[in-house]
């Protein structure tokens, strides 16, 4: 084979390389599940039985299921109502509200939990946990539902109203069927978040499988592995329920109606005011109140007797290092998978892509447990090193990065490469002059998304970080558990502040105007439209939840 020529074969060399790379990535990401199975098997059935079949475990399972169900219902109601009010009514400042309403999602749950508990310690744990989780997960429903409402033609609703159907009946008979897939996807994500949450529940003293696994892990790793089994099953059940929701692709695309012109006005001025008050209350409870509490504690300035393991500067540095390295790792791993599934769609590439969403269904605590197991048994030099934390982040947040990379690569018309080749340009020049400038913003977005998420990670960091190393989240946690609220508050405030710059970059990326009328290259067509990283995460998990063809 000489330069410029190549022989014919069924699979071009590119494809073989990409498939191998993608296979390696998928293998790494699904390893935790495999390890879990091995681990449980090693523990032996009798031991698993003594841990699982006791009152304590039943209570934990019941707690987890009750809470998950409550949060799912509440998040579905709040998220759908907010999306409907914004997309289908003339609430003033709709765009601003959209931005503000997703803010609670960016707040670390353990900070919100801490804020509520520190001011109102007598609140019943179930109520507190349900409230906090609803506040942090309703945006996961709100975003995909808002996107679905925007996609489905309001003319359908107009027609129904024209045929004499009332507003409520119209919603149930016309609107709901076209958004139930979106609601399902969002609720699934919410459920997965709830069953894997640790910090917030620990803060309000509510016990679930995850908090128990975390506690057991410190004393009895085998018991932790045993308790992981019902947790993984719960995750799979949630995915199964979601997959059972019928989804139909709407036959035609709506011409987006812009502005308030086409929107029906939502009742009277009083109703509009009430709606806005409800929005404001939600955001206050989820964002303003916790931030306020943090400032309050900082000003109380009770000196902590507990010495800080990591100063604010050191903790910030560690957090940045972990987050940046894991974000970079995610992008590096996601690129071959995205390229493979975009350019060579096949059963194999689809299976590879879907398998990378497996970690999404597995709580972080389990990923951490399996990484510990893996390192102790096979890779001891890695045990208790920062590399393990970074690996855990990469596994946990891979789907977030993949979604952004996939969207960018998928939106890049293949013709660009062909044009470049017909103009005598080789691969390297084409990549640098065409591909990189065009997918660059998407890569930056993926980086930011993983980065923000990683800065708030608590559970697996607590379990994996080397002794003496603290991130902002874990140092906050250390003070918080000792009730040194004044000392803890600055760390949480830095976490919130750190989210601002990447958050702003994300906003810029999602909101940028399309630069061409090329039909294959419109921002609106990206699975991620508007500030909707999680919409696409929802879409991604949607895809994950679908049965393979």
């Amino acid at each position: 084979m000489n330069a410029g020529h190549s022989t014919h074969s069924a699979w071009p060399p590119n494809r073989i390389v990409l498939t191998v790379l993608g296979g390696c990535v998928a293998l790494c990401l699904t390893a935790p599940i495999a390890v879990l199975v091995v681990d449980a098997h090693d523990a032996g059935w009798p031991e698993i039985r003594t841990v699982l079949f006791r009152q304590r475990s039943y209570d934990l399972i019941a707690n987890t299921i009750t809470l998950t169900a409550l949060v799912c219902i509440a998040a579905a109601l709040v998220g759908t109502a907010a999306a409907w009010c914004l997309e289908r009514s003339a609430v003033p400042f709709a765009r601003l509200w959209t931005g503000v309403l997703i803010l609670p999602m960016a707040m670390p749950d353990f900070v919100v939990g801490f804020a509520w508990h520190s001011l109102w310690p007598t609140m019943p744990p179930l109520v507190a946990a349900a409230t906090i989780m609803t506040l942090s997960t309703y945006p996961l429903v709100f975003l995909p539902v808002a996107a679905a409402l925007r996609r489905c033609d309001p003319a359908l609703e107009d027609v129904a109203r024209g045929l004499g159907t009332g507003p409520m009946a119209t919603f149930v008979r016309v609107t709901l069927p076209s958004i139930r897939g979106a609601i399902g996807g969002g609720v699934l994500l919410a459920a997965l978040v709830v069953i894997s949450e640790y910090g917030a529940f620990e803060a309000v003293r509510f016990h679930t499988l995850t908090t128990e696994i975390f506690t057991e892990f410190q004393f009895e790793p085998r018991a932790a592995a045993a308790l992981s089994i019902p947790l993984v099953l719960l995750g799979l059940v949630a995915i199964g329920i979601d997959a059972a929701i019928p989804r139909r692709q709407s036959g035609f695309r709506a011409q987006a109606r812009t502005g308030a012109a086409g929107r029906p006005s939502l009742g009277t001025r009083a109703v509009r005011t009430l709606t806005m008050l409800a929005f404001a209350a939600t955001v206050t409870a989820g964002v303003l109140f916790p931030v306020g509490v943090l400032f309050y504690w900082m000003h109380q300035s009770r000196r902590s007797t507990l010495p800080a393991v990591a100063s604010l500067a050191t903790a910030t540095e560690t957090t940045f290092a972990y987050s940046a390295l894991s974000s970079a790792a995610v992008l590096l791993l996601a690129t071959p998978v995205a390229y493979l599934s975009v350019h060579y769609p096949s059963r194999i590439s689809l299976a590879l892509q879907k398998s990378t969403f497996v970690p999404r269904a597995v709580p972080g605590v389990i990923v951490a447990v399996t990484l510990v197991y893996l390192s102790i048994n096979y890779l001891y030099p890695l045990y208790e090193t920062s590399w393990l934390v970074i690996a855990a982040y990469a596994v946990l947040f891979f789907p977030l990065g993949l979604v952004c990379v996939h969207a960018s690569v998928g939106a890049l018309p293949r013709e660009f490469g062909e044009i470049a080749r017909s103009l005598r340009r080789g691969r390297v020049y084409t990549f640098l002059a065409v591909t990189l400038p065009l997918i660059g913003p998407g890569l930056v977005a993926g980086f930011c998304l993983v980065f923000i998420t990683a800065t708030t990670e608590l559970t697996s960091t607590l379990m994996l970080a080397p002794a003496g190393v603290k991130t902002l989240a874990t140092q906050f946690w250390a003070f918080q558990t000792e009730s040194s609220y004044g000392a803890a508050a600055p760390y949480a405030l830095v976490i919130v502040a750190v989210a601002v710059l990447p958050g702003a970059l994300l906003g810029v990326w999602f909101d940028r105007r399309p630069r061409t009328s090329h039909p294959g290259w419109r921002t609106g067509d990206l699975p991620i439209a508007a500030p909707q990283a999680t919409t696409s995460v929802a879409a991604a998990s949607d895809r994950f939840a679908e049965p393979m063809p």
Binding site: G4, H5, S6, T7, H8, P413, E415, F416, E418, I419, A420, R421, S422, L423, R424, R425, G426, A433, V434, P437, L438, P514, R515, T516, S517, H518, P519, G520, W521
Partner: protein
């Protein structure tokens, strides 16, 4: 000499054959239109010539170089072709000048100015693609393709996303430019008007092979079979007979004609403009009733029902100023002899 030759080209996607033993020769310096319905393999043929796809069997030659022989292939970047896709596919992050200069080396940058002038892009040089109209984008795409002086230009339905008025004027401009630079061009299209207006040669693609090839006039006026006739325009088909060298049509619209054909049954194909309507009875005219009129300004397309008890209908192109009414009794006669095919 042919600038491009495809011989026995075969291409299959999965189990769907797209090109089946296709043979096409494109003379140097000519514009050849590849015309065919959607799904006939037009774009695949173009992509194989460009080097974006590989043949399963057969060969493609550009100039004197075999670029694909079914086993080895020369990469697209070494084939010296210019490619203009349907939507232009301008690089969205580059200004017009940078788009045109994309395939040029640093020393060749002066060429950008020549192309800007050639395609009337003077005021647009510093714009981004999204600031251009559809027609302007296509002109830039053509300039970009022509910049490295390719020996062959491939245009994949370049005007299909434009509105009718713009399409006509751009068609004319592009044809001029292609002739001026004396490059060999293949234009893929499903628009017969475009093919008839722009091409020196039309190749009709059907089911993955060339069903007919020839000069536009020859293909339009003397197509070899019914599908070719129908694809290039409206065709009236009437059964006819030759008896002792005389052609008789079942509907009496023809003058007596001596033809050099053996006796037997034939089909007569007449284009709408080969027929004329009169309001007075005359020799060699058949009685008919006006069944439908589509007024088009300068002409009207009139559908006539022949008044002989059969459901025979004829489509006639009548001058637009003819005042005809539905149900009116008229006479129709042939002004030219169309094509006669044996049955």
């Amino acid at each position: 000499m042919s600038a491009i030759a495809a011989l026995g080209a075969c291409k299959t996607y999965g189990t769907t054959p797209v090109l089946t033993d296709l043979n096409l020769r494109v003379p140097a310096g000519s514009v050849t239109a590849v015309l065919g319905p959607s799904g006939s393999g037009k774009t695949t043929l173009l992509r194989c010539i460009a080097g974006f796809e590989r043949l399963d069997a057969g060969s493609i030659t550009i100039g004197t170089t075999v670029v694909d022989d079914g086993r080895t292939t020369i990469h697209a970047q070494r084939r010296g072709i210019g490619y203009v896709p349907q939507n232009g596919a301008l690089f969205p992050h580059l200004r017009v000048r940078a788009n045109i200069g994309f395939g040029l080396r640093r020393s060749e940058r002066t060429r950008i100015g020549e192309l800007v002038e050639m395609l009337d892009l003077q005021s647009l040089e510093h714009r981004f693609p999204h600031e251009l109209s559809g027609g302007q984008q296509q002109r830039v795409a053509l300039a970009r393709a022509l910049a490295p002086r390719p020996s062959v230009v491939l245009l994949d339905e370049p005007f299909s996303s434009l509105d009718a008025g713009l399409r006509a004027s751009l068609r004319w401009q592009v044809a001029q430019v292609l002739r001026n630079v004396r490059t060999t061009a293949i234009l893929v299209t499903h628009d017969r008007e475009e093919a008839l207006a722009m091409a020196d040669q039309i190749a009709l693609l059907r089911d993955g092979r060339i069903a007919a090839i020839g000069r536009p006039r020859d293909l339009y006026n003397a197509p070899a079979d019914e599908p070719t006739a129908r694809f290039l325009g409206t065709a009236n088909l009437l059964s006819a007979k030759v008896i002792a060298g005389q052609l008789y049509c079942r509907v009496p619209i023809l003058q007596r004609r001596v033809v050099d054909l053996p006796d037997g049954a034939y089909t007569l194909m007449l284009r709408p403009e080969h027929l004329a309507i009169t309001t007075q009875p005359g020799d060699n005219a058949a009685r008919a009733i006006v069944a439908a009129i589509t007024y088009q300004g300068s002409t009207s397309e009139v559908r006539l029902r022949i008044d002989d008890g059969t459901p025979t209908q004829l489509v006639v192109e009548a001058p637009g100023h003819d005042e005809l009414t539905l149900g009116q009794r008229v006479w129709v006669r042939a002004t030219r002899l169309g094509v006669v095919w044996p049955e």
